[in-house]
């Protein structure tokens, strides 16, 4: 499975051997609308014609209102699992899930296995 080097705002962005896009935000980042646009474009470029599920690591990274609006648009991503552990992660994820819900089905997980299992469930691949 192809893998892209991490660029710009990401600690890592690649497609793993399971066909899941893995996006790891650089720590200490505050995701603005502009960064969100950049991320969506990078993911779409990475996917090309394909549509894939995505695992986002680093959920404690806060998002602005504009960024959440960008993630609310259609993209090449079929499902999004947000992986975090702390109560801060959950707070940020809840905002993403309920205040500005993304276009693709999105859930918050504290365990990577559970996240991958949900992502790779039937219908997750495009």
């Amino acid at each position: 499975m192809s893998s892209e080097p991490a660029v710009g705002y990401f600690a890592s962005l690649h497609v793993d051997e399971l066909g899941v896009v893995r996006l790891v935000w650089r720590s200490g980042l505050r995701i603005t609308g502009e960064i969100a646009e950049y991320a969506i474009r990078a993911v779409d470029e990475l996917n090309g014609e394909a549509r894939r599920p995505m695992l986002i690591v680093g959920s404690e990274t806060p998002t602005t209102r504009e960024a959440r609006a960008v993630f609310g648009r259609e993209s090449s991503v079929t499902r999004i699992a947000m992986l975090g552990r702390s109560v801060v992660d959950r707070t940020i994820a809840n905002f993403s899930l309920f205040v500005n819900p993304p276009a693709a089905p999105t859930r918050f997980f504290t365990e990577e296995d559970a996240a991958l299992s949900w992502l790779l469930d039937d219908g997750a691949r495009g």
């Binding site: 404690e60 806060p62 602005t64 209102r65 702390s86 109560v87 801060v88 992660d89 959950r90 707070t91 940020i92 905002f95 205040v99």
Partner: protein, 508 residues
């Protein structure tokens, strides 16, 4: 928990409490940085930060929408206001706005002047070139008028081809100067869709008086003055005087009376013979309407014709004359004339020519009385046969096809009908009395009449000399090659019974 950790927690809770107080005070731009603990307090901080941002964003959106909606409402209000107060075609003020401005001027106590103008010749342009050209012409005229006045004055379109200008504060000289400038501004042709349209305007002026006098009747008064200007000559200016109002009222009364007269048989037809200058035979008669007015006595058409035309009664009047005369000529044919060439001349207004079904109506009325279409000749006054509009041309062609004769009345006093004459739409021309009088004694008059007769013959038209008063004039006309004449020398217009004697003698 260590003492240090306890102090740290207390400090963070203090900061959080301060942050909440700030937010509660409405400072939605306040933010608190979370620690690196990622604990419950940080969750509250991050949550509050995001909530504050969301709230701030929503408030901003809401304010934006309120501003937008307010602007849209203001725009809609302005558009409605404009619609209610402006003429959609030209963008000028309409009658409502003009009325409002007049009242404002009245309250301000200044001396206003109102000018009402009506375009001469607009109908002909509309009829000839179509409404699109007519509309563009109105827009162009509106532009010129707007350029003549100050921003404080109001130019309005009252409807059709009628405009008004309210001058806020004007001396009589200034108001008349504007009237003059209107005439000058309209003197140059308006080019619409590559066509040069020549229009002029008849202008009525109502001058104000000082001291905030009532302006309620200004528009009506200016209108009255405008109608007077229009009745005199194209492109004239007339200043309102109270006597005009009385005259206008008199015209309204006369129109009512004429309506009654038509219905109650107060109108009669008199006949004036048209005589063959060679043989003395009566070749035709002209049927002329007279009004036996119950109070004012015997009225000639010059006293009621313009009222009839303004009110549209002219059609009913002319058709009544045609029917009456056709019935009379049919009786003469049966009793006296047999098959000999004889026709009846009836006057019609050029306005009637343009009415749909005009030709069919004439033919049907003629046949109803047993006459043939060629027994009837319609006389149309030269100076009123204006414009080369399609409807007039069509009617003239239709009359030609139906073999109804057409004569131009008062020939030699205008110029516009030469075009029709040249293209064989006309059979006869009636040479105006002003060219016939003193023909026998005035050499110049003789030369002019000779030239007109040459021209008539060149167009293959039969000339009829009008207003022949003496044997000597009749002789001179005969010498010049004029075959037919009409005038007091032979007979005044007389009732049918009186004409019968002449027919018996002359046409025996």
């Amino acid at each position: 928990m260590t003492a240090h950790a306890g102090e740290d927690l207390a400090r963070r809770l203090d900061e959080l409490a301060g942050f909440v107080v700030e937010l509660a005070a409405g400072r939605l731009d306040a933010r608190l940085d979370p620690s690196h603990e990622s604990d419950e307090i940080d969750a509250i901080v991050v949550g509050l930060n995001m909530l504050a941002e969301e709230l701030q964003g929503l408030t901003h959106d809401l304010e934006g929408r309120v501003v937008e909606r307010t602007r849209e409402l203001a725009d809609a209000h302005a558009a409605l206001e404009l619609l209610a107060h402006s003429d959609p075609l030209t963008g000028l003020a309409n009658r409502t706005l003009l009325g409002q401005r007049l009242r404002q001027v009245e309250q301000a106590g200044t001396v206003p002047a109102v000018l009402v103008l009506d375009l001469d010749g607009f109908k002909a342009i509309n009829d000839s070139f179509g409404h699109e050209v007519g509309d563009e012409l109105l827009v162009a005229v509106a532009e010129r008028l707007r350029g003549l006045v100050r921003d404080t004055d109001t130019v309005a379109r009252l409807g059709g081809d009628e405009f008004a200008i309210l001058v806020q504060d004007a001396t009589p000289d200034q108001a008349l100067d504007i009237a003059e400038r209107i005439r000058t501004a309209l003197a140059a042709p308006v080019v619409v869709q590559g066509r040069s349209c020549w229009v002029s305007a008849s202008v009525g002026v109502r001058l104000g008086t000082s001291g905030g006098a009532s302006t309620a009747n200004f528009l009506r008064d200016a209108d009255t003055a405008m109608y007077l200007a229009k009745s005199r000559a194209r492109g004239g200016v007339s200043v309102f005087a109270p006597a005009m109002r009385r005259e206008a009222q008199a015209r309204t009364r006369l129109a009512d009376e004429l309506r009654t007269a038509l219905a109650t048989g107060q109108l009669v037809v008199l006949y004036q013979p048209i005589v063959d200058l060679e043989t003395g035979r009566v070749a035709a008669v002209e049927a002329l309407a007279r009004w036996r007015h119950p109070e004012r006595g015997f009225l000639t058409p010059d006293m009621f014709l313009s009222v009839a035309e303004d009110t549209g009664l002219i059609t009913a009047l002319d058709m009544w004359v045609l029917e009456t005369a056709a019935a009379q000529v049919a009786r003469w044919r049966a009793d006296l004339l047999g098959d000999q060439p004889f026709s009846v001349h009836v006057n019609v207004s050029p306005v009637e020519l343009r009415a749909p079904g005009f030709v069919d109506g004439i033919v049907a009325r003629t046949r109803r009385h047993g006459l043939r279409p060629q027994d009837v000749t319609l006389e149309i006054t030269e100076h009123r046969l204006l414009g080369e509009d399609a409807a007039t041309r069509e009617a003239l062609e239709g009359l030609r096809e139906a073999q109804v004769g057409v004569a131009i009345d008062d020939f030699g006093t205008g110029s516009s009908s030469l075009g029709y004459a040249r293209r064989a739409f006309v059979d006869e021309v009636k040479i105006d009395r002003s060219l016939v009088s003193d023909l026998d004694t005035d050499d110049q008059q003789m030369r002019v009449t000779a030239a007109i007769l040459v021209m008539a013959h060149a167009f293959d038209l039969t000339p009829i000399a009008e207003g022949v008063q003496t044997e000597s004039e009749a002789h001179a006309l005969r010498t010049l090659g004029c075959r037919l004449g009409q005038g007091f020398f032979w007979s005044r217009p007389v009732p049918a019974s009186e004409l019968e004697d002449q027919l018996r003698t002359r046409n025996a």
